[in-house]
Amino acid sequence: MPVEFRKDLFADERDDNLAEIGKPHIRQDILGHVTGRTPFYDDHLFDGLLHMRCLRSPHHHARIRSVDASAAEIAPGVVRVIRPSDVPVNMNTLLSLLNFGRDDEPLLSPDKVAYKGEPVLAVLATSERAARDAVAQVRVDWEVLPHVLDVEEALRPEAPVVNETYPGNAFDYHEKYDHQKLRFGDVTAALVQADHVVEGEYQMSPIEQAPMETCGAIAAPETNDRFVCYTSTQALFFSLGTAAKQTGLASSRLHFIGGTVGGGFGGKVDSHHEPLAILGALLSGRPVKYQWDRAEEMQVGAPRGGERWRLKDGVMNDGRIIARELTGFFDAGAYTRLSSYAVQKSTGHLPGPYTIPNVASNVYCVYTNRTPSTAMRGFGITGVDFAIECHMDKVAEAVGMDPIELRILNAYRDGDMKAHRRVAKNCALIESCQVAAQKSGWSLSSDALAASSMRDGGIGWRGQIPETMIDEDGRIGDRKRIWATPEPTAASGPHRAVAAGTANEHPATGAAPQRDDMIIEAERLGFKVSEDAPGSEAQSVPEPRSAATPHEPARRHVNGGPSLPPAARPTTHSAPAVPVAARPAQPAPTSIADDAKPSDPPPTVAPADQPIEPGSRPPRRPGASRFISGSRGRR
């Protein structure tokens, strides 16, 4: 089907005098593809090639008591058994090359496995079949451990520790935060003012990239004291750097050849094959191929991480979304790989392509005993877009509005301030919706047809950063898990960490609590604090409630500062955000009342001149903090 160019759209923003775009071209590499001559990594033949196979964990989570490879070592065709102790630098995390995150994953696991399929030992043999047969003769004494496969179960205090580098089962951001936090305006106040509150939960599955070519690498000693490595990698220099780090060889001794990838889709960035193949060549002096078979590709190959999202929107009767609150749990599997970065991407993407004046999110990178996840086509974005767009349909249904018109009404327009404090530009969602409706014969109102991304953006509140609560250091987030004792191992198991999102309640932190909307996971607060702070006052367990219910978590001030009676708490809310104040106050809608216990007073928004409660801090003005300064992105 020929591509259709809609040159009527944005005609004045574009130079149509283009030499190449719109004209068909033949791929420069396709002659090799159609003649079968494109050299993929496996299309390099070596005399004396050895084949590497790994012994893999049959358990989701287990301690390795002992490994007996004596039978494998003398099996026919076996040249060498490679153990964890043979790996010069056995711990790594992919993004350590960018100084992001701590080394948390062994190349071959010495004492514990945290996912089914985790490699424990590698066998080099003269044929693939001999390597397989030898692996089958290795005996491992496993001590099976309890495992956790659900992101929220993994964050409970009783959950097994998946990854000892991150004993709270969540990635540490900047060594301080167990999640990524976004605050823009005042979601709590806006939800009270909304005509409708629409909640939803959305769950993505892990998805295997399933390239036609399975992941692999061939390494061989060269004649100049270097090692050549043919690899399927999508990230040649990540693989080169990782291999240099883990083998202890200078990168100048590694000769990497890639460039032809038999399908990748993100699944060929993890750089596990290259260091193992090079190590095999180093230890055996022979060419070594380490290639996943199809079963390994599907079972061990890192998929797109599953994501769970909870959304709570405050919507006016006319369809304007005035608040959006999100809680995200990104399933990293057993090790970090690229999931920490995916969470940052997803947070930067919130609240989707819509101009919403009040946004709050907490997103967690969670460790579970699943296969580690990694890159896959828009990872970190696709999952949250799935959630957001499903939710937009739900919102449209709730307010009785056409779903495309709802999107047009709320879409980013040029000049609007986004929740991550950059100005939207080159917006095209409105035009995309209009064309999609036209193509599908869907009729739109005249208002929706007349809307344009290039008009009405950035006016008034749309171009402003609203007042946003920050803490005394000018940060929007609460700090996490400052340990009670300087020795984290002394008398404090991994689950004595301060609960996620509750750091300031912990007796050890000393910081005054922040306002309630800093905590979205109200239900987690109760049981975590009660375990974490024995002897403190923070023993009360609130009623279980939706995790996306930040406005009334039961909490105590456990260290300094007086406890506020519940009825007084809502008065600590900041002045209403600009767009909310411009509208008449609405009575609390029924969907909010569903959440509130009868004994709770309905939350109200205090006027701007309300005295600030002791122990809280006044809202800061936009730009007052280096953290939320919007000057770089503002016009």
Binding site: H33, T35, M212
Partner: protein, 162 residues
């Protein structure tokens, strides 16, 4: 273990190698004979990247024992071109952007050639049926089906311009 000598015709030329017991034709072609055009994708007969023609019929070479092709004729994608002259299917795949990473292409071409050799004017449904055993993860199947149809009509220029 004893190796078995195997002689057969590969893309019209004599070929001879020694097969290990249990060795499949894919491994024999790639490592024994040196024809790297059929690819390993699954090794269990599900993906089609290793498709070759044996006596004109498409076969999954990962499921064929090497010694069974003794005295038979094997065709691979590596033998489709006649010197510098590409087969009509190859030209159609190039012009129609019917390959992206290229890993499935050898198998697709073989499945398509088996079809066109027997049925020069297939319907779209027959093309889809012919490549139903070949997986592609990049291109999407539409450009591949279009390219095969285009190659099938190539000798009839009038119909192509319609």
């Amino acid at each position: 273990m004893a190796k078995t000598p195997v002689t057969f015709t590969l893309n019209g030329a004599d070929a001879a190698t020694f097969a290990d017991p249990g060795q499949n034709l894919l491994d024999c072609l790639r490592r024994g004979v040196g024809d790297l055009s059929p690819k390993y994708g699954c090794g269990q007969g599900t993906c089609g990247t290793c498709t070759v023609l044996i006596d004109g019929q498409p076969h999954l070479s990962c499921l064929v024992l090497a010694e069974t092709v003794q005295d038979r004729s094997v065709e691979t994608a590596g033998g489709m071109a006649n010197g510098p002259d590409l087969h009509a299917l190859q030209t159609a795949f190039m012009e129609g952007f019917a390959a992206q990473c290229g890993y499935c292409t050898s198998g697709m071409l073989m499945a398509a050639k088996a079809l066109l050799d027997q049925n020069p004017s297939p319907t779209r449904g027959e093309v889809i049926d012919a490549i139903s055993g070949n997986l592609c993860r990049c291109t999407g199947y539409e450009p591949i089906v279009d390219a095969i149809l285009s190659a099938s009509r190539a000798p009839r220029a009038t119909e192509r311009s319609a």
